[in-house]
């Protein structure tokens, strides 16, 4: 991460109402994480305390303190997906993910009527059975 890149991202959103989340999203996207240094710079630019920024970063699981190069598969384990059987798929999903894929639990992808559902990048997948979910995880890049 270079200071210039970070300053550019901050400057891009500074005039917005509520610039913190857009900045954090862009920082996460650009650098793969929101580092303590980035938190400091963002806090200073937005006239917030570092604790406030850190609180937001820590609250949302989309933001991470360190980069993780592994592909991420988000598996919904909220009520509707549980009712449609997602819990029975978890063991196979974890085995398929191993150490190569980061398997993250999320609570609702908004596909309740067609669960179990998962998300890889910007793609969502519904009506997953064990074979479908395992194939999705194994194909995650």
């Amino acid at each position: 991460m270079t200071t210039t890149d970070l300053a550019e991202i901050i400057a891009r959103h500074l005039g917005r109402e509520g610039p913190l989340l857009p900045i954090l999203h862009d920082v996460q996207e650009a650098f793969g994480c929101v580092s303590p240094e980035a938190e400091r710079a963002i806090a200073q630019a937005l006239n917030m305390s570092r604790a406030e920024v850190h609180g937001v970063v820590g609250f949302y699981h989309d933001f991470t303190a360190e980069p993780d190069a592994r592909p991420c598969v988000q598996l919904c384990r909220a009520e509707a997906c549980q009712a449609r059987g997602v819990e029975a798929l978890v063991a196979a999903a974890e085995a398929a993910a191993g150490g190569r894929v980061r398997l993250a639990t999320v609570y609702c992808l908004g596909l309740c009527s067609a669960g179990p559902a998962a998300r890889v990048g910007d793609d969502v997948h519904a009506r997953l059975d064990e074979a479908g979910l395992v194939a999705l995880i194994e194909g995650a890049r």
Partner: protein
């Protein structure tokens, strides 16, 4: 040219609507992406001249176009789920 309407809302996409749309385009149809009728259990729901077919997969395209698909649900607007709401 046959005009095929297929939803591109998130749930339809999650159920494979893009692959179905692509298969119809390959078959020479004009594909229009539209919003969903809300009948999620039928997504991807294919609409041709008001007639519905779903849940469709790319493998269903030939039979749908030949008019002998087992996934035909008749006129969408007359489906009880839609008719009851209108």
């Amino acid at each position: 040219m046959t005009v095929v309407r297929i939803s591109d809302d998130a749930l339809a996409l999650a159920c494979g609507a893009d692959a179905v749309a692509s298969a119809f385009a390959t078959a020479g149809c004009t594909v229009e992406r539209v919003s969903s009728w809300g009948m999620h259990w039928l997504e991807p729901l294919v609409e041709i001249d008001g007639q519905g077919f779903g849940p469709a997969t790319a493998d269903d395209v030939a039979e749908i176009l030949a008019g002998r698909s087992a996934k035909a649900i008749g006129a969408i607007a007359e489906h009880p789920f839609i008719a009851a709401a209108s």
